[in-house]
Symmetry: none
Subunit: 206 residues, 4 copies
Amino acid sequence: MTTRIKRKEHLTKTRRKQILRAALSIFSTRGYGESTMADVAAEAGVGVGTLYNYYKNKRDLLISLVQKLLISEGLINIFDKMADQSSRDFMDSLLEERLEFGFDNVQTILFLFFEIQRDTKLRHQYVQDVVGPLLARIEEYIRLQIKRGDCRKVDERIISRAMVGTIIGSIILYRLEQHSSPFAKAHLKKITHELSSLFMSGLERK
Amino acid sequence: MTTRIKRKEHLTKTRRKQILRAALSIFSTRGYGESTMADVAAEAGVGVGTLYNYYKNKRDLLISLVQKLLISEGLINIFDKMADQSSRDFMDSLLEERLEFGFDNVQTILFLFFEIQRDTKLRHQYVQDVVGPLLARIEEYIRLQIKRGDCRKVDERIISRAMVGTIIGSIILYRLEQHSSPFAKAHLKKITHELSSLFMSGLERK
Amino acid sequence: MTTRIKRKEHLTKTRRKQILRAALSIFSTRGYGESTMADVAAEAGVGVGTLYNYYKNKRDLLISLVQKLLISEGLINIFDKMADQSSRDFMDSLLEERLEFGFDNVQTILFLFFEIQRDTKLRHQYVQDVVGPLLARIEEYIRLQIKRGDCRKVDERIISRAMVGTIIGSIILYRLEQHSSPFAKAHLKKITHELSSLFMSGLERK
Amino acid sequence: MTTRIKRKEHLTKTRRKQILRAALSIFSTRGYGESTMADVAAEAGVGVGTLYNYYKNKRDLLISLVQKLLISEGLINIFDKMADQSSRDFMDSLLEERLEFGFDNVQTILFLFFEIQRDTKLRHQYVQDVVGPLLARIEEYIRLQIKRGDCRKVDERIISRAMVGTIIGSIILYRLEQHSSPFAKAHLKKITHELSSLFMSGLERK
DNA sequence: GATGAATGAGAGTTCATTCAT
DNA sequence: CATGAATGAACTCTCATTCAT
């Protein structure tokens, strides 16, 4: 009995995931406004009506999708990996991990940014749950370095944003230039190293 | 006679601009797919039919709009101002000018990026006409500094992209955080200075 | 299962027929270009959107309609009835059957002719599938009569066309004069008899 | 002064003819409902606005066009040529003249029939001014032949319609079969002769 | 009188959503 | 719960008509 119910819940979750995955794929490539529920249904391999058994309407699907991405899909889980890392490693791992993830999900990320910035609620949520914590973490790190004397006196609130901005911007440039540039996944290590060096010596005390 | 024709041509150009301006405003805020031609017409203060006297269809309006923005609307005219500037000024003016422009046009820029990266032709055009020249210019500048011995040996192709990426990413972060951050127009000078310093000392020979 | 599917297929066919019938009615009276999909939907008693679940677009509806009429709606099934009939009966039944059908469907027929002759593909199909076989049949009949010596030497290719032409033209005249003439359905027998006599003695050996 | 006015009137007439000619060409090939005023204007070599200086609206243009065709464009002027002709010549000249004219203007004629039969007023006018007189003439001819004893007793009202119908139908068949049949302009003499013979001996006293 | 840009009513078409099966 | 045919509101686009030049 309980098992039956559990299985049912499990199935429901699976179905919801399946639909969200399809929606992400479709929305990312065509854009929300130009995607149709039929497209999503086809991609998910279910009937159109089924979508409405799991999501109230198209907009609900979008919001659910975005929130799911914000919360659980590796967009903020860097923290786990970042814990207790020494200075250079912190920078390196932050850059490498985020860039690799970014390069792998450019379309999704661009789609996310575009949708998030258009919806006040989503934007606040995103800033609060994702960007905020990430920035806080980096600010804290910089403050620590300054206190230690390893870093010159900088405005950590601005520098942290510059760093996150660099990651975001690099991902976008990668999408724009595609394979016609040194910003290819193949050179990820090289890129990480150059950026890391730039920031490290940029912050370093003279 | 000639005057009459000229006036007519002038009117046509004016009308086209008027429509493009309206389209930009609508598309930027609602997104292309969710904007209607009626919206655009209303914003432009003309009848719906009139739009079709100047643009073949909705997509044509979008493409024309994007191309117009790429080519003439100050997205690349930074070059004129940048000419013959000494090292620190180059960095400062690049950052300040681009950030200010970016902060003033976040929505437009995000809209542009989103549309450009979805259309292969536009993407190529953008890379070739806008991003490419800008990167070339920065690479050249870095190479020069290296040769002069003012800058340590770095991969100028990566660093140039990092710099452009930083600008792009900062603009996006600005849009996301809106007024709840130090990334506000009010602190533009401060921001410019911090970033400039970061890059300058980041590149500086130890 | 199979039954379920069969029922569905049946329903689909019924719906398609229902729509075609409505389209025929509307197109015949208003003309294709002046009919609207809303008209057709109303006549069929379905929503506008439904039309598009069965036909790609308005033109597709027209073409399907015309082809359906050409192929199956009794426009060529005269052959079954004509088989193995002696000379005078052949002529009589041909005339009577075709005239009656024509008088009953003038508008449809005129609409058909007008659309068919404007579309090369339809025209070829019509000639090949409908007019051609009918003419062949009549030519064969005439040739037989000539061989038998019951008929004087005539060019059967021209005479057959004259006979078919007479039927077509009579139908049109009937539509034009409407009830103000002896060409009324009431006098069908009389008309058939006069025409039959005309042709019979027109062909008869002197 | 009078000359000036006359010239003006002349110009006006010319312009009206020019427009009607264009309208006929466009309407005949595309059908009234699918033709646009812009099409007509382009064909006539004038601006769209000009059309409205000569005709109240699109429908007025159609009606004027049809009436013009009915009244003056050779559709009924056969009477002049037919006067005082002896029996066989009457039939021959009627057939040859009407068929030649028909073969040369199939599209126009089909367009005319289609439009006329859809408009009650036009239909009445057509029957009264064109078809009626033509039928009357043929009926009279047949009655005369019967009285003379050259023709067997037939219902001249039906036979006359059959003859006119044959002409109409032959023209339509010609359009449908186009060049793939013996109904080509090249064989006009042959056709005329066969038809004439058919009718003559069909009516002849045995 | 000639013109064609401007217009909006209205056409064709799409698609989110519902609901009977 | 899964489905997809039915639907009409809403969209894109067309085009007859007007009117300032």
